[in-house]
């Protein structure tokens, strides 16, 4: 036992000797320094305490740390340093600048008075000899005066605290009187909100306003820009593996499906993905085309993942969770940054990001090009039976994109944000049923505007998608399913925030939203158009510390929900939070959520050729009579932190009950009179229709995640998710066998004194069995359900980085999927190891 401890200590010492600089997890490391510093200051050890705060600030600048440093200097009686630090604080343009300015004036006056007092008085002796020490009685008087001053400051500080939201039951942090960013913040707000309490984890997605993740009514996971950089991840979807409970299924380089807490599938459709509050969920299919998002990893400030239902605030499709990708605020980064990546699989990736501004206008502009080969091809060249229909047989992803995001701040502080982007790409997607991988060759674009009008925020955006699509390979001579899709979504919403007192403090958010969707897609028949509307309200009621309650309700009007006529979907959520100690939050919540039928599920009429029988098709049809998929969720959570140890943890237990799942029925014979389809010149073997399943699925699970930054330079993340799903009224439960029962994630990052960075992470997914329909090999006119076992797999990624020129040039070597070849879906690519080299230049 002693030996083990000795080895542990030796390892710890060795690590400490090597690591002098951050950063593996900047927030946790800075927070550890900050908390340790505050403890030292509270015990009167000002110098080491201030040094710790300075270390925290050096790791991750936060204006409130400067405020605390200044107060510490002031408490230590070092007014000149206090003054200097207050001025640094004011330079960050804090919201409480007026009161701090007054304080600065007092300090300047006090210093001037001290200088005057120190100057020799006229008539006094002109001797240069040192003055004898004052009498003991005078020293005692000065000490008493200092003590009195500290007492007064403490009282003033105590009086100032109630004027801003409590961040915990007994915060040990000095907090400025008025807090930058402490107001209501919409999920879409691009500005970086660092919160009042330095280095606390902040989220904006859980309640559509900025709050500590401890206060969030859902289980949340935040992936920071630093996490992204150190992970070496090459795609957004891969990053999601670090989210406890996330199901990531990569079928190709450019095709991934992400779900939360089960129900993943080709075309995963139960998680809402937002970019700065703008939906990236494609309503015509019901999926997120991850590789077509018009943003790059190097533009992301952080990703917030809400694990659990989010329909109470976000409406349809936020059924199992919300992933909100928050990009860097305009003007918040370097003037220019170039990144170039080359690697195996003919990977070539280059990007340029620029931040800047002029006066009240700030901007972020970016441009990028990326291409990467598939991991594997389904068919070889020059086959006598199957031909390549569209796209390149080798390219998995190729695209060029550009973005411009601007913010104009008016004199009165109000802001207008305008942004837009475009992505021209060629990639692939794996649709449902009998269909296999499709090429996508097209363009996505968006334009968005955010306006802040005091407590009201107005947002409008337009999403556009125009793609040529079709099966990448088709039997020669078979009728082609190639098509073109044009989708336009127009969305407008207004949010209103109000705080008031009524038997406790209330924070109320009210929102209304309208959306027009227009989809031209030959699979759906004529141009389809839907108008949606919604309203929601949320009240966070701090009835009495340490209890608070959050009640949310949203109603969505959908044009088809009442048996094909306009109907309403209601999504309530109630949460109770109990924070008995600082940094510890216990949560219980109940919510319902829904997923609306997609255009594909509502309107499809697609005769799919029967392979090898060119005169036959099987008809896939939508139904306008579909009910929405419904989820009822119960969740218990515990989120805690030990700042002095650099340790955060999150535990969640949940039960999700899903009914009315929408899926394709078994094939049904058609009446003889409908057997011939003149549009395709083929005979319809039968029909498979989108329908609500009778089964009721219950998923129960537990998710646990920890983040550690015990010493500078070392960061550790680990999580585990275990889930068990059952079904009522269903003999063969596809979603049960397709959801991995166990998912594990572990990641370590380490940065040495020599500016070398090491990172490695591993994600384990247990085995699954996929029930997929295929034509019978012996008789293709018979469609059968096949059981496809998929082995467990582990995805291992690693990164080595080196900062060759401080703050200017860095290089990195990244290995992805180092765990070996595997497939994540029976019809997906065989994923291979790849290695990339990246050069980043920040002139």
């Amino acid at each position: 036992m002693r030996t083990v401890k000795a080895l542990q200590r030796a390892a710890l010492v060795a690590v400490c000797l090597c690591a002098t600089e951050a950063l593996a997890d900047a927030r946790l490391e800075a927070r550890r320094h900050f908390r340790n510093g505050m403890s030292l200051i509270a015990s009167g050890q000002f110098d080491p305490g201030i040094a710790e705060l300075e270390a925290a600030y050096a790791i991750k600048p936060h204006p409130n740390v400067l405020f605390n440093i200044a107060r510490a200097y002031q408490d230590a009686g070092r007014n000149q340093e206090a003054l200097d630090t207050f001025k640094r604080y004011l330079a960050s343009n804090p919201a409480d600048s007026s009161s701090v300015t007054g304080q600065v004036a007092k300090l300047e006056a006090a210093l001037k008075a001290a200088e005057v007092a120190a100057e020799p008085k006229p008539g006094a002796s002109g001797s240069s000899l040192p003055m004898p020490p004052p009498p003991a009685s005078v020293q005692t008087t000065q000490q008493l005066a200092t003590l009195m001053e500290r007492l007064e400051k403490a009282i003033a500080r105590a009086e100032s605290l109630p004027s801003q939201p409590q961040q915990g039951p007994a915060s040990s942090t000095y907090v400025p009187v008025a807090l930058p960013g402490s107001g209501v913040e919409a999920a879409a707000a691009p500005a970086v909100d660092e919160g009042a309490v330095p280095y606390e984890e902040r989220v904006v997605t859980a309640s559509r306003r900025a709050q500590s993740s401890l206060e969030a009514p859902n289980a949340t996971t935040v992936i920071t820009a630093e996490d992204i950089r150190l992970s070496g991840a090459t795609s957004l979807s891969e990053l999601m593996r670090r989210v406890p409970g996330a199901d990531v299924m990569t079928l190709g380089v450019g095709s991934a499906n992400v779900s939360l807490r089960g129900f993943n599938q080709r075309i995963a459709n139960k998680v809402l993905v937002l970019v700065d509050g703008r939906t990236e969920y494609q309503d015509f299919l019901g999926l997120t085309l991850w590789s077509t998002l018009p943003i790059g990893l190097d533009e992301i400030e952080r990703i917030e993942v809400i694990r659990g239902p989010g329909s109470a605030l976000y409406g349809a499709n936020a059924m199992l969770g919300v992933i909100n990708i928050i990009t860097q605020a305009p003007g918040s980064g370097p003037r220019s940054r170039f990144t170039a990546t080359v690697g195996s699989g003919h990977t070539v990736d280059g990007s340029f990001v620029s931040h800047g501004g002029s006066g009240p206008l700030r901007f972020r502009a970016s441009a990028a090009y990326a291409q990467e080969d598939k991991w594997s091809r389904d068919y070889g060249d020059d086959r006598p039976d199957v031909a390549l229909l569209g796209g390149s047989p080798e390219i998995g992803l190729r695209g060029a994109r550009g973005n411009l995001s601007t913010v104009y701040t008016f004199d009165n502080g109000r802001q207008l944000g305008v942004s837009g982007g475009v992505h021209r790409y060629a990639t692939e997607v794996y649709p449902l049923g009998l269909l296999r991988n499709y090429y996508l060759n097209g363009l996505s674009a968006y334009a968005k505007s955010d306006v802040e009008l005091g407590p009201i925020k107005v947002k409008a955006f337009w999403n556009h998608l125009a793609v040529d699509a079709g099966p990448q390979y088709e039997p020669i001579g078979q009728r082609s399913l190639a098509t073109h899709v044009t989708s336009n979504v127009f969305n407008g919403e207004a949010l209103y925030a109000k705080n008031f007192e009524l038997a406790g403090e209330h924070q109320v958010n009210i929102g209304v939203e309208g959306r027009l969707k227009r989809v031209a897609f030959s699979y759906l028949g004529p141009l389809r158009q839907e108008v949606h509307a919604a309203a929601f309200i949320q009240d966070e009621w701090r009835v009495v510390e340490p209890f608070r309650f959050v009640a949310s309700y949203r109603v969505d009007r959908h044009p088809l929900l009442d048996n094909g006529k306009p109907g309403l979907a209601h999504s309530p959520r109630v949460s109770a939070l109990f924070t008995p100690f600082e940094g510890q939050a216990f949560r219980a919540s109940a919510a319902s959520a829904f997923r609306e039928p997609t255009f594909l599920e509502s309107y499809t009429r697609l005769p799919v050729p029967v392979p090898g029988v060119n005169g036959a098709s099987v008809l896939t049809t939508g139904s306008t009579q579909l009910r929405p998929e419904r989820l009822t969720a119960l969740e218990l959570g515990w989120r805690g932190e030990a700042p002095e140890l650099g340790f955060d943890w999150d535990l969640a237990l949940y039960q999700n009950t899903v009914k009315d799942l929408i899926g394709l029925s078994a094939f049904q014979a058609l009446p003889a009179g409908e057997a011939y389809d003149p549009g395709t010149g083929s005979y319809l073997l039968g029909r498979s229709v989108f329908q609500n399943e009778a089964a009721i699925y219950t998923a129960r699970g537990v998710e646990a995640g920890v983040t550690l930054a015990p010493i500078d330079g070392l960061g550790i993340k680990a999580s585990a998710a275990i889930q068990h799903m059952t079904a009522q009224n269903e003999e063969q439960c596809g979603p049960c066998s397709q959801a991995p029962g166990v998912k594990l994630y572990g990641g370590v990052t380490y940065r040495t004194r020599a500016d070398l960075e090491f990172g490695v992470d591993a994600a384990f997914t247990s085995s699954t069995t996929w029930i997929e329909r295929e034509p019978s090999p012996s008789d293709p006119t018979t469609v059968q359900f096949n059981s496809n076992p998929l082995s467990a797999y582990t995805v291992i990624n690693a990164r080595v980085g080196y900062e060759a020129v401080k703050d200017a040039v860095s290089v990195a070597l990244v290995g992805s999927h180092l765990g070996g070849t595997h497939a994540q879906h029976p019809f997906g690519n065989r994923i291979e190891r790849r290695v990339f080299a990246t050069l980043t230049v920040t002139p």
Binding site: H346, T347, A669, A672, G673, Y683, V809
Partner: protein, 413 residues
């Protein structure tokens, strides 16, 4: 602010980057997924349809295993089919029934495995376009027995040897690496000379009982044409096309059983059905015309089972007496041209055979109990079977009209 980079570090990075670059030159490997189609190797047959006809309608081309030809030569069922829409085949002439072509259009049969094949087809004519009375619109539906064959006015076609006019056997071969080779340039010809003269031999059992047992002796049934004109099924046979069999084309009726009576079309097949309901044949539950790998094996007259699922048929045939008279001219010589008989008498003997090998049926030791169907096969290759999908117990679920007479079965207790 820059700092010097150690030579070793530079070398390490250079090595790493060069490794990356060299590793990036390989193309993605071909790795089929679990999808069945990706794990098969097939070829294709493609060519041109050539139609010289006044008929207008979609052209249907079937592919048969050469070893399992369709009626009237065999009882094979198509492996696949393709449809060439009328608008593609006839183009501007679609609305001009006076034009006879030739009309051409390309066709492809996809995903054809290596093997020997026959191509047959017909133009599913819309005879109402030509003003014929009675007429029918294009009425082929491949999914039902009662709608899956040509009718009167349809024009037959096949891939034939242009020199001999015989059916051409098409072979899809594989190369040295096992890759099937596409077979191209195949012509499938349609001509008005192959116009189908009558609707299919739809019948009902007008006289006769269902039950047959070993003690009851030969059962006689009288079949009469069944007119059906509803729910997408159009059959108006004026009678049954009857003629002598002359497979060797010598102008003399064949006499395969040497009973000194010329063999006649239509042929009669009485086959055992599976289970107590439905129209599937016993031991052919996938309805592909090939005996299943597993099934019922009956005891043969030698007291042994042959170890394979049996194709059980009963000894049956036309009662020729009345027909022979009609097929004999004034000089007593056989008339080789077909006649239309208003009714047929068939005889079913209580003798069961295993027709797994149609050329040498093997007698069974006893009469297997169960249901049996009756099938007529005419010289044109058209067939009709009772019971079929028009059985009121089946028809509503299939979207077909119910016809009570079409539920008739021979019952062996």
């Amino acid at each position: 602010m820059s700092r010097p980079i150690p030579a070793s570090t530079r070398a390490l990075w250079a090595l790493a980057v060069s490794s990356v670059l060299s590793a990036g030159c390989e193309s993605p490997p071909v790795v089929p997924t679990a999808d069945h189609q990706q794990n098969t190797r097939a070829g294709r047959i493609e060519g041109t349809l050539v139609a010289q006809t006044r008929a207008r309608g979609n052209a249907i081309v079937f592919i048969y295993d050469a070893d399992r030809p369709p009626p009237p030569v065999g009882t094979g069922r198509p492996k696949a089919f393709t449809v060439i829409p009328a608008v593609e085949l006839f183009g501007q002439a679609l609305g001009d029934p006076s034009a006879t072509g030739p009309f051409t259009a390309p066709f492809t049969l996809s995903l054809v495995e290596p093997g020997r094949y026959l191509l047959r087809g017909f133009i599913d004519a819309d005879t109402c376009r030509t003003g014929a009375q009675p007429c029918h619109t294009s009425d082929f539906i491949p999914w039902y027995g009662v709608t899956g064959e040509p009718n009167m006015g349809d024009v037959g076609g096949a891939a034939v040897d242009l020199a001999t006019g015989a059916s051409r056997i098409l072979e899809v071969t594989s190369d040295a690496d096992g890759w099937p080779q596409p077979l191209t340039g195949v012509a499938v010809s349609f001509s008005d000379t192959a116009t189908v003269p009558l609707d299919r031999p739809a019948f009902q059992v007008a006289v006769g009982t269902r039950t047959l047992d070993a003690k009851s002796g030969t059962k006689l049934l009288k079949l009469r044409p069944q007119v059906i004109s509803q729910g997408g099924v159009e059959q108006r046979p004026p009678g049954f096309l009857v003629q002598y069999v002359d497979d060797n084309h010598d102008g003399i009726p064949d006499d395969a059983n040497h009973d000194n009576v010329g063999d006649l079309w239509p042929k009669v097949v009485v086959r055992k059905l599976a289970g107590t309901v439905g129209v599937l044949d016993e031991n052919d539950l996938d309805h592909n015309g090939i005996p299943d790998a597993e099934g019922v094996d009956y005891v043969h007259t030698d007291g042994m089972r042959d170890g394979q699922p049996d194709v059980v048929v009963l000894a049956a045939g036309l009662v020729p007496d009345a027909l022979i008279a009609a097929l004999t001219d004034e000089q007593g010589a056989p008339r080789m041209k077909p006649i239309i008989a208003p009714e047929l008498d068939i005889a079913i003997r209580p003798i069961a055979l295993d027709a797994r090998n149609p050329a040498a049926p093997a007698p069974l030791a006893s009469l297997p109990s169960g249901r049996y169907s009756i099938t007529l096969i005419t010289s044109t290759g058209q067939t009709w079977r009772v019971p079929n999908e028009l059985d009121p117990a089946l028809a509503p679920a299939l979207g077909l009209p119910s016809v009570e007479t079409q539920s008739f079965t021979i019952e062996v207790p």
